[in-house]
Amino acid sequence: MDDSAIQVEHASKKFKLRHGGSRTLKAMVLDYVRHRDSAVNREFWALKDVCFEVKKGETLGIIGANGAGKSTLLALISGTMEPTVGSIRTSGSMSSLLELGAGFHPELTGRENVFLYGAIMGLSRKQMKERLEAIVEFSELSKWIDEPVKHYSSGMYIRLGFAVAVEVDPEILLIDEVLAVGDASFQRKCLDRMKDFKTRKKTMLIISHDLPTIMAVSDRILFLEQGCVHGIGTPSGMVEEYHEFVRRKQALGAKRVWGTQEAVIEGVELSNGAGVRTDMFKSGETLMAKICYKTTRPIERPVFGFAISDLNGKVVYGNNTQIEKVIVPRIENAGEMILRIEKMSAAQGSYMLSFSIHSEDHLTNYCRLENTLEIKVTSDAQFEGCYMPCVWRQEAGRP
């Protein structure tokens, strides 16, 4: 028996980005005459070679930054869009509404829109009539159901949308960011209904930025990053990776190069104790950094410094030649400065390195490279922060 509800195989989706809005016949004729295509500005792959499978009865959460391709993926699965490359197979009826309340016509009443919704999902009038009462009850709109939906508040709109989507009771439910709307009590109702879906062995795909909720509901989580599958796995594992990803992005955002340019750090080469170039280190091993600099004029008694920060931007360790009482008498033209950290004992994780050349009195910064290099540190021990050799000893018990 085939127990997969959704199979996505090497799906990619390309969009053509057009500048200047929509295309006109005039533009097309002119392009034809000039043998060019002005309308298509550039191409953009919203999804790249995405593969995964969802089993029947499974709940898959989809997370990722804005623009990672989450909604495009859902559109491909629902069938409103077709993949440019690859294939998608689904089995079982699917709630085909990607956005709650999309398709509601403002001039029609709530009741009329419910029937329109049902018909789009392929239900007959009779089937919808049977469900109407439950929909009205769930959405708490009994007083409003015969009013045109243009008079509804946005919360009422979403409530009606969600009520219809779940009452239609499809085999596969696709939900794009519903949990962000509605008040707390309605959110709880939605969650209850989703849990009910789960117990009845229905398949669900949920997109949300609300990480705690998606962790609680999902069996597995798919983490999309710039159109590619970053990973798929346990909710806690994936959310942890996502947090790490967000932190790294912020850290990279803190990357900055500045200074008077009288001395410039042209490059930093990282290597391990054996002299092999790498950016992966084991905690407690040696880290060597070769700082290549160039000057525009001779500089007397400069100070070389460095700092190691975690992805939250917090400095874990920082030091310089002045503190270590190493005097660099003078630098001119080009040269190299070697830094050797004998025991780089940071905890496991990713770190950003900063380097600087500044004056003895700290008033002139010749060159500062802030958070420009990333290193990964692995460790067997589970300590936090920086390792400091320590000894534990139990005293004899007191009487």
Partner: protein, 272 residues
């Protein structure tokens, strides 16, 4: 060819499966059109009535209205009202996809339902207009105002069906073009105006120079309006073969429209 045929069958099967949706969409279109205006449905009658009035006055001033021609006004009424169906239907169809962009991008259902429901909504409207024409012609007959006879009334369903097929076919093509080229609207308004004067709507077919009369039947609307006039006024059809040619072209456009629509509909979402 085989490919197109299977597409056609799929379109028909899709429509059959979504009958309820089609019915609701037709109702929705009619309801939205008349919900906001006080006079409601009567606008769709008043509109052609004003046109008829204007044409009648001007044709009289221009002396195209031959004295003693009792059939002139009924000729004008059938012409303008039946033309109105085509014009309104095409204008409505133009935005049947773009105007429902939120549905097209967010929901899965046979796209053909959208323009089809527009065409059917207009057809319902038109059927009421036909009743009005019939009442008018009956009054003429009872009052002996014009030599009207009903011997050819049996042609009416055939004319309506062909007329509808033409409207649907063109509407399907137009709504697609409008998705890809947003200036289709301007082309349509100019095209409709030219077509209006190329079709014997406000004149008799016999007003066309004799050597061009046969050619005029390449325009499907010529055959359709000729048949309407025959049905309502009881004038015999001069050239049944040419009318048949007109009808065949109309049905050909309908089939081509469905095939074209089914072919390009998958690309709609990428265009929004």
């Amino acid at each position: 060819m085989n490919d197109n045929l299977s597409r056609m069958w799929k379109a028909l099967a899709d429509i059959d499966k979504h009958r309820d949706l089609l019915a609701i969409m037709v109702g929705r279109n009619l309801k939205i059109r008349y919900k906001r205006s006080v006079l409601g449905f009567f606008w769709s009658l008043l509109n052609p009535l004003f046109f008829i009035l204007i044409y009648a006055v001007f044709l009289k001033i221009l002396k195209c209205y031959k004295a003693g021609d009792q059939l002139f006004l009924p000729m004008l009424v059938t012409g303008v009202i039946t033309w109105q169906f085509l014009a309104m239907c095409l204008n409505d169809s133009l935005y049947s996809i773009l105007g429902n962009a939120n549905l097209v991008t967010k929901a899965v259902f046979p796209r053909i339902i959208l323009p089809l429901s527009m065409a059917i909504g207009n057809l319902v409207n038109f059927l009421f207009s036909i009743l009005i024409i019939l009442c008018y012609v009956i009054v003429l007959k009872i009052g002996h105002f014009a030599p009207v006879s009903f011997v050819f009334l049996g042609l009416l369903p055939l004319a309506v069906a062909t007329h509808f097929a033409l409207c649907l076919g063109l509407g399907l093509i137009l709504c697609c073009l409008n998705v890809f080229f947003r200036d289709t609207e301007h082309i349509l308004s100019v095209g409709l105006l030219a077509w209006f004067f190329l079709t014997p709507v406000i004149y008799y077919l016999s007003d066309i120079p004799a050597e061009y009369q046969r050619l005029a039947f390449l325009n499907p609307m010529t055959g359709i309006i000729t048949t309407y006039r025959s049905a309502f006024l009881g004038v015999g059809i001069m050239a049944p073969r040419l009318v048949f040619l007109s009808f065949a072209i109309a049905w050909g456009i309908c089939i081509a429209g469905i095939a074209f629509f089914q072919r390009v509909q998958k690309r709609f979402v990428d265009e929004f």
